[in-house]
């Protein structure tokens, strides 16, 4: 979608330098609470409302998690460090980039496009 046809509203959140890797900002965008995350230099935005029970998703820890093991192996392989958001209420885990819930990919947190324009982090809603 080109900028010419993008009918979404654009919200400047902050200067890019003010949102370094591993950090987040939660912003109120015309009454909609949105979390903007810097994951390894890429910006991602998620609705701060968990699809499970409407909790404050974006206020939970950004973390890694244990990866699924095969054939019931009782071992711990830690991964996805910095890519997982745990909802602040009930702890359901979501992939920040896609909004996919780790226990059921059909459960999706709403994501928004983010761009950097004139050194500003901009969320498109």
């Amino acid at each position: 979608m080109s900028a010419m046809t993008d009918k979404r509203k654009h919200y400047a959140i902050c200067k890019a330098a003010d949102l370094p890797p591993g950090q987040r900002i939660i912003a109120d965008l015309d009454g909609r609470s949105v979390g903007v995350f810097n994951v390894n230099g890429e910006y991602h935005a998620l609705h701060n409302r968990c699809p499970h029970a409407a909790g404050t998703l974006c206020m939970g820890p950004v973390t890694g998690t244990t990866l699924p093991t095969e054939h019931g192996a009782r071992e711990f392989v830690y991964g996805s460090e910095g890519h997982i958001l745990r909802c602040a209420w009930h702890g359901w885990e979501f992939e920040i980039e896609t909004g996919k819930c780790l226990i059921d990919a059909k459960v999706r947190a709403k994501t928004f496009k983010v761009s950097v324009e004139n050194d500003q982090v901009v969320v498109h809603i």
């Binding site: 029970a53 409407a54 909790g55 404050t56 206020m59 939970g60 820890p61 745990r86 909802c87 602040a88 209420w89 009930h90 702890g91």
Partner: protein
């Protein structure tokens, strides 16, 4: 709307120092604690939530913030008329071997909640916590504070030394009955002298265990009915908080069937166990079981007369919090579950004002 399980936490157990008996003040001030200075001297449970049992959007750092966060995230957001405070760590006094220290800590908590929490908000009503391993001390505490106008129930952990219908606890039931307060058990106290929280031996993981921790509440329901508590204390209500609910019909069916054949073992039990439960036992909703097919859940709840047996609770601010505006229950049951049933159990609460054009929540 009445929220039957709201945790008024502290930032340090040192808040109890001005409220505890001088002998035990020294224990709390200088004695060994299971965590850092300011932690509570319980004999801690073996299962620890891997991500903390509190919600991550609520991080108070001092006692005033415990209240201001609660006001913002629960009281002003969902607007309950009543929030029944259930404490937090103080419930764990039940795990201590020294009954004198346990009762002193319980009394200190009760003094603290009355002195510092109740004046903060006119929606607050208090539970007083007792140390059930000290039945005589607990009874004295119930008589000391039972007539306080804002104290609505007597609370102990569901993790226990003996089943609560056991003769050992007669002084507690006697005192509750005298002051006219319900006796409630809340999930907790699974450690220390309460050494059998899980039948079959200790489970391994937190989430696995959390689904099973309700087991002692089954024991208590069977125990209080078979021991004739409600025959001896016909004014008593027994409240089960945070222990799940859908297991109740199954246990009552089994108790009913057994009693029909073996009534002679307990001649003081005059009615079907399920009838005592209907008249004397209430359960808080949270964490309400989440069935893939909502109708399956509702069928089980109907089998236990959920409309009349259940009382709403949020369990604020814990990780398995149930929001009052998102309860997966039949709409027509909500007036009683969200409000009316609790007003019948907690008789000091004001009667609900009901518009003339609706019968919702009307008390009999």
């Amino acid at each position: 709307m009445i929220d039957c399980d709201v945790h008024n936490d502290w930032s340090s157990s040192n808040v109890l120092l001005p409220y505890i008996d001088t002998t035990f003040r020294d224990y709390l001030l200088r004695g060994e604690l299971p965590g850092a200075r300011g932690s509570f001297p319980h004999a801690h449970r073996p299962w620890l939530h891997p991500e903390d049992f509190r919600r991550h959007d609520i991080k108070p750092t001092n006692d005033d913030e415990h209240y201001s966060f609660m006001r913002e995230n629960l009281l002003d957001r969902y607007k309950p008329d009543v929030a029944i405070l259930t404490g937090e760590e103080a419930l764990e006094v039940s795990t201590l071997a020294n009954p004198h220290y346990a009762s002193a800590l319980a009394s200190a908590y009760n003094n603290w909640v009355i002195d510092t929490w109740l004046p903060r908000d006119d929606r607050f009503w208090a539970s007083i916590i007792i140390a059930p391993q000290d039945p005589q001390g607990a009874a004295a505490e119930i008589r000391r504070l039972g007539s306080h106008p804002r104290v609505v129930q007597v609370l102990a952990s569901h993790g226990s030394y003996r089943p609560y219908g056991d003769k050992f606890y007669d002084p507690i039931w006697q005192a509750c009955s005298e002051v006219g307060l319900p006796f409630a058990v809340h999930l907790g106290g699974q450690g220390g002298i309460n050494y059998q929280p899980i039948g079959g031996g200790p489970t391994t993981y937190y989430w696995e265990t959390h689904a099973l921790l309700l087991q002692p509440s089954m024991t208590h329901v069977a125990s209080v009915i078979s021991n004739g508590i409600f025959e001896r204390y016909p004014n008593m209500m027994f409240v089960v908080i945070e222990c799940g609910v859908t297991w109740l019909p199954s246990i009552l069916w089994r108790l009913d069937a057994n009693w029909k054949a073996l009534r002679k073992e307990t001649p003081w039990v005059k009615r079907l166990p399920s009838e005592y439960a209907r008249d004397h036992i209430r359960m808080s909703t949270q964490p309400l079981e989440e069935a893939a097919n909502k109708q399956h859940l509702w069928d089980v709840l109907a089998a236990m007369d959920g409309e009349n047996m259940l009382m709403f609770a949020s369990d604020y601010p814990h990780w398995d919090f149930d929001a009052p505006d998102d309860m997966q229950l039949p709409k027509e049951w909500l007036p009683k579950i969200m409000d009316g049933n609790a007003r019948q159990v907690y008789k000091k609460l004001p009667r609900q004002l009901v518009p003339n054009d609706t019968k919702a929540g009307v008390m009999s």
